[in-house]
Each structure stands twice: as structure tokens, then as C-alpha cells.
Symmetry: D2
């Protein structure tokens, strides 16, 4: 990996915890979505590139939980691409609370023409930043 | 009121309850939004009218809670318009669980040109159905 | 399979769609959670059994998307257990809209002592109903 | 006002925007809930006080929208108590994006004995901090 590792921090809202006192499972996908936004922002292309030339669609997500996150916890999420295909790529998210693993996910994204469901080849610029960050 | 009263029923999802074991406050606005969709559907204009000629924007909501709703509860929500203006109207929602009041809301909607933030006069057809249902 | 197949229907709320006009990815886990509640309810043990003797925790979820669901769509979700272990079991959810596949998921649940994170063996009664419904 | 003014900043998640491209109305209550948590944290009592001796329940919320917030917007929320009663108090939230007003709310909270729905008198310590921050 030539680029510095990327991580993002999220604080758990009360509204996101359920009757068991822990983050409800679906919110983890929202956390990873927010983290992906910040990860892509860190590439430095600006909003215009993203909106006009590149968008993505989720095609697969594999989540594994190993511990809870509770109200007001700070969740640290480490991010790295793990596979780069022609039209798709995979990103791994490792979420932990105070160093304890909480939830890991591997999400597969397909590049699409913005405003459509049509898959397209990854732009070279995107392929380059992903390659620089590959584990 | 010349039209029959309208009510809608919603079942509480586990994901919507919080650490106090009750529906988190914000979800009540979602419940009333779903109820509004079904209320408007009951007018019989079809989706095309709604999307092409009429849309609304919330400008005010007053919510008052008097009791909890819990996981798996059935919430009954009675709906009626309470004021009809030139460009806006108010709807009152009375939510109860097993006959016990839970949350009342009065929400003010402004008619807008679909796809914009520009307020417009209420279409006559909308004014008529609201008038028939006025309390 | 000796028991009749189980399916559940969910209508998409406006609040659950995003700027792409489709159900935001995280809400699918909420839909499957609601579906699991109804599936377990269909076993006929009553709430008391569930709360006092048996609870579950998600340990893994694999989601694959093949098509969108939009505002007001009816989502049909077919449910069946696909694996029964000593302390855990897997359930497959197949969600479709108007017969078109939208999202499939396999979710792994671990049985826990209610109010704790401690895994326990599946109660015999639960094992029996799952076995009757195994694909 | 003897204490410094309090404000909190929230960044809009993609998942919180709807088909109109703006924050869905219900999420504003979640934003104000998160803001309230940070406001109370700023009083310096620590989590233990809050959990063991003091909790609140919403009884009323009045929200007024004057402009949209969109994906990735930074929302600034100014907070101040506006009324202090025996068992309840009111807090006003003024949310803006880039200096443009977006949503104002006045929320009424009732003090309760933690773990119950029983209202209690505001603890003196809470009354004091609220009084110091009264507009």
C-alpha cells in the first residue's frame, strides 16, 4: 500500500440502539455507507467528479458481528479495498470499539453511469487510487 | 364531514424501539408520513396526478406524546384535515394503542410544484376532497 | 419440508428511499428483521416463550442485491431455514418485487440466554420447528 | 445568560436524504436528540449522574422548516433552554446550513425517575445549569 491507511470514526446515537441496548444491525450498513463517503472524499477528486462521472451501486455485503456497540460509543472503522475488478471493487471495513472488534464487512460495489443502473468500467483515476490503497 | 373517516394501522418494528423499550420519538414522524401517503391514496386520484401535478412540503409539525408504543404494538392512527388555506393545509393525526392515546400531531403541508420548492395554490380537486373530510 | 412455506409482505415507505429513488441498502436488514419476527410468530409459541426462554443475536449476514425496490412497492419475502446447528441456525430471505428478484440474504443467528450475550443450545422446540421448515 | 452559548454540528448522511434530495423530516428529531445528548454532556455531570438520577421523556415537539438540508451539508444547531418548570423544561434548537435557517424546534422534556414513566421534580443541579443558560 502506497497511500496512508484510512479510518473514520462514528459516534453511536441513542436512536440507533435497540431494546437490547446495542446498535441495531441495519445501522452498521449506514455506518459503512458514511465511511465510504469519507473514504472517497479522501481521494481528492471533489464532488463534481463523483456526481458527473462516477457513481456506484451495492451488489453484495457480507457482515460479521463479534461484539456490541452501545450508545455514545466511538466506533473506529478501518477501510481498505481488497479487490479491484473491471467494473466492480470490494472494500473491507473493520469496526471496533475501544480496540475490541465489533463488526467486519466486505462490500462489493459496481460502477454505474450516474442516474442509471447501467454498469460501466471503473474510471482509470478510480482504479489508480484503489490500487494505491490495496492491502 | 361528508366522507368516511380515515384511519391507518402500523405495527411497531423492533428497530424502531430504543433503549427505553419504546418507539423512538423521530419514528412518529415517519409513521405519520406513511399514514399521509395512504390517506392521499384513499382520495382515488392515482399516482400520476400526485406525481405530475401536486406535491407537498412540510412546513410545521406539532407533536404531543401521552403514552408509549412498544415493539409489536398495533398503532391506530385517525386522520382528518383541520384547516384548508390557499396554498397550505393542516392534517391532524391521533395515534393510539389499544385505545390508549399515544401521540397526536398536527402537520402543516404547503402545496408545491413537483420537483421544486415553489409553493402553488391547492388544486381544486385537492381542495374538494379536503373540504369533504374537514372535521 | 413438512410445514407450509412462509412469506411476508412489506410496503416501501418514502422515508426508506434515497436520492437514487430506491430503498437505501441498510433498510433491507430492517425488512428481514421484521420478517423474522413474523416468521417466529408463525411458530405459535407466543410472546412469553420468546422473551423468557429464547432470544437470538445476529452473527453474520450475507446480502446480494439484484434489482431495486421503490417507494410504495410491495416487497414479497420468502423465508426458509437453510442450516440448523447446535447453538445457531441460518435463515434465507428471498425478496422480490412483482416477481423480479430484488435482494437475497442469508442470516446466521445464535441462540442466547435472554438479557445476555451468552450463547446457549437451541431449545428442542425451536429445533423441531426449524427442522420441519428446512428446505 | 451566564454560560457560553452551546451549538453542535451534524453532517447529513446519504441515508437521511429522500427522493426529494433533502433530509427526510423525521431525521430532524434524531438530529435534535443527538444535539441534546451533547448539550447535557457539556454540563459536566458525567454519565453516572444522568443514568442513575435523571432521565427525560419528550412530551411535546414543535418543528418549523424554512429551508432544506442536503447530503453532506454541515448543519449547525444552536441550543438554549427557553423555559424551566417544576418537572419539565423547554429547549429551543435553531438549525442552519451555511447561515441559512433550515429547521427550528422547541422541545419540551419532562424529568422522570430512570427506568420508569414517573415524572419527578428537576434535580437542583439540573435546574441550576438550565438557569445559567436561559436565554
Amino acid at each position: 500500500m502506497n497511500a496512508p491507511p484510512f479510518s473514520h470514526t462514528i459516534r453511536v446515537r441513542y436512536a440507533e440502539t435497540d431494546g437490547q441496548g446495542v446498535v441495531f444491525n441495519a445501522h452498521w450498513l449506514t455506518y459503512f455507507d458514511e465511511t465510504c463517503t469519507r473514504f472517497v472524499e479522501s481521494w481528492g477528486f471533489g464532488n463534481n467528479f463523483w456526481i458527473s462521472q462516477f457513481d456506484v451501486m451495492l451488489v453484495k455485503a457480507v457482515l460479521e458481528w463479534s461484539g456490541p456497540a452501545r450508545f455514545d460509543d466511538w466506533i473506529n472503522i478501518d477501510v481498505e479495498p481488497t479487490r479491484i475488478g473491471t467494473k466492480s471493487f470490494e472494500v473491507r471495513y473493520r469496526a471496533s470499539v475501544d480496540g475490541r472488534p465489533a463488526c467486519d464487512a466486505v462490500i462489493t460495489y459496481v460502477a454505474i453511469k450516474p442516474g442509471t443502473n447501467n454498469s460501466v468500467e471503473l474510471p482509470d483515476a478510480v482504479r489508480d487510487v484503489l490500487t494505491d490503497r490495496l492491502s
